[in-house]
Symmetry: D2
Subunit: 270 residues, 4 copies
């Protein structure tokens, strides 16, 4: 008989509980915030408080993108056929693919390549970006993370994320590499292709040494939250088998409102 | 041409950003923690700080249950066939079903039924639990949330969750209803069927008025994190098409360790 | 160590090949048609030639229902997000659910109930249908297989299927039970709710003793063919992330044409 | 308002029925066998009778590969967690990926490359195979379709498929190209890597001009049949949440038996 025993570096259960990367889950409940335990599971170590805040911010920034996102439309369509919540959400998750949400990983690789080519020297970033673009063009590889289809102006989530990255005092060189790619794309294509939410997420994840292969996993955990909310609304509020128009939809939820003032204080903490 | 216009109460995008339940997402990034924005999306309102802490704790408690969980085995098996991260995780998500993770909703309904039958009067809870059990038996409905297959002793996550619920000063009557069900099951079956993690989650979600239809959604967001970590390990570390033994596995990650002392202080805050 | 050995009644592999329900797969390749091997896998026995022809016909009748079917829209949406063929098709498969394709099983149960209540006596079918409808209404159960949303006239696939069932010399009593349900629904609701494709499939499957629990499986194998074709067209011909209108679509394939004459002869075999 | 109208070349519905690639589905029911309608949907044209028989044979050859196939294990695991039939099968479908069933497409591309390099001249096939292998090695691309993990002797399905291809009087040059790859791999690696079921399927699909991008789709339709049968057995016969051993399983179905004699005659038609 073949011995099939195998090992994981992630976790195990005991009679007394569950151990994650060496830490007892019980000790973490109510103490370590959820996004930080995610970071532990994904990277092997707990984040610093600054990194923890950035990870939480990136997850909030990705939690939903409205009813017209393809992942939401696929989940609502499955729900409309009678799929229960989990199955409808799986249809949405499968839609988070190469062209929709999966760009962060590609973008991280572009930024890391520019960083590597520059030997970490800031004044070589522009040349490194030119080289990276030439390399990728040669093998027909698309550069993700720059240019956005929907927000005509700069995506307002970006400014906030960059501000938080600054507050977290990240080293900043990967953020600069991303800006160098914007300039190099402008030189190459004469088009303005600003950093989009994928590119900003990618640059910040590079700053906090997040594993490239799990960058889209972070996005998936966040966005599946929105998908679940939409699938649940479809299941509980909408007629079965309806035709779901991908563009012609509105909003009849609570009107625009500000955060409670004690939260606003945290934003403008003067 | 049919007018297909439809409305959502959840969210919409504008040129300037994304609005969730009336709040500007930008304002929430870096200010409102991820589990609280999830609560907003799911319930329509931001949580109180006490509820926010409980939601975070419930998500941490459910984030992973080791390599032998069926959802992890399904995701690893799909990954082993060559599925990329999202597709492997979808296979795991589909496994979180009637017998695996989906018990919270059933358990909430049992607890809410006992609460309703008691008219919220504590001294009528035992009688109400007897009635609920009789009702459910009559229609052949299984009562979820009580008894656990793996931890022979009481699941240690429970004690922690109950402590946090107490600290959050929840009203407590749904927690008492859950205990009444344990006593009623003992009278009916002569078996000790203590509250398990599903039942405890259910009781606490009842305490904070979480919508029943989205209770499993909360679990899915949390657990998909663990599934992603395991699927990623399978993809990046394991040989393709290996035979995945569901029982005979070990752990070779970091050895047992304590949380950093500043975090421990939060647990033992004397 | 726990002994986890388990058995299947379906199939096993040997050094020399694969055995399905006792038959060597090699012997069947090129001899037993695919729908008949499907029947063997699902029921345990090979079909008679008459039943084989009916199963094939039912699969052809279900192979596709045009680009507006929700399962196709979900698969195309996932493909549009970048999902590869299998993942996009899985999104479509998940959409084949309670309200879309899954009606055959319910319909078989309705027909079988009428058959059972009539003790197989034709002149008691009408009364049995009234009773079945009353029973199902009482428990709030929807009767599937009658009435169709799209074809205003009788679905033309039905006439053909009924003709084939007649040619196959099936006993016919389940087909009569289905007609009895139509009459009973008319008495009860004053509405014309003719047998639809789900109901006809159900009645014919009852005639050939197909297992109820696998009726939707037959539909899934057939329809996944259409879903794959649509997902492939989306992947290879359409721009990524396009907005997929569920109604406003056309056809630019080959113009209407007749089957080759030797095939037409088989239809009109005089 | 943007005009979102789009076209498909596959099919459309009318008040009177469904048109597939120009043919009325009604005319095909009971006349054109299911695998031939699949061929029509996938390629745009009806197959010749010889090709029709080959397509049917390839689908039968792929319909199931026993209870230990990863796709079956994933589907059974999902079913064991409580997933209904469609969701469990979707988990299996997601497992049919890069390392499991998806090799046919790669293998077709290798064979077609050898064919192209040889300019269709038989005596140049060996040299063309050497070149193709060198090309693919250089870009780190794995050659699929040669060598099999399970059957130590030649997979017995192959002999049968090759015999059928001969009976169908296919041109044969792609089959020769596949044999040339076997010889070239032997020269290069000194290993015997015979054509496996994926490679044989690939060569035959090349012979009948099947579209490369849909080769795995053919496999998926066939294999999903086996996955459905296994998932159904798990749902209806097995206890929930059982540990599913991937190796230690047996068979307790009907004992070995021969096909009915009238079918055997078709095999040995003397």
């Amino acid at each position: 008989m073949t011995d099939l025993r195998w090992n994981t570096k992630l976790s195990y259960t005991t009679e007394d509980g569950i151990i994650i990367r060496g830490y007892d889950l019980i000790q973490m409940i109510g103490v370590v915030p959820f996004p930080s335990v995610l970071y532990l599971l994904f990277t092997g170590e707990l984040p610093t408080p600054q990194t923890a805040k950035l990870i939480d911010a990136l997850m909030v920034a990705s939690i939903d993108h409205g009813p017209g996102a393809p992942s939401v439309l696929a989940a609502r369509t499955a729900a409309s056929g009678g799929a229960p919540l989990g199955a409808a959400t799986a249809a949405g998750l499968l839609t988070l693919n190469k062209f929709h949400g999966a760009a962060v990983e590609d973008s991280m690789e572009a930024i890391q390549r520019v960083f590597a080519l520059s030997n970490g020297e800031t004044d070589k970033l522009d040349q490194a970006a030119d080289t990276m673009i030439a390399e990728w063009r040669q093998v027909g590889r698309r550069i993700s993370g720059f240019g956005h289809r929907q927000h005509k102006k700069i995506d307002p989530r970006l400014e906030r994320l960059f501000q938080l990255a600054k507050e977290a005092e990240v080293p900043g060189v990967h953020l600069e590499a991303a800006q160098a790619i914007v300039r190099a794309l402008k030189r190459k294509t004469s088009k303005d292709l600003p950093i989009n939410i994928d590119g900003a997420t990618a640059a910040i994840l590079c700053e906090v040494n997040f594993p490239t292969s799990l960058s889209n996993a972070l996005f998936m955990v966040a966005r599946i939250t929105g998908i679940l909310a939409h699938a649940n609304e479809e299941i509980t509020q909408m007629p079965p088998m309806r035709r779901i128009d991908p563009v012609n939809h509105g909003y009849d939820g609570p009107p625009a409102r500000n955060l409670p003032s004690q939260m606003m204080n945290e934003i403008n903490p003067l």
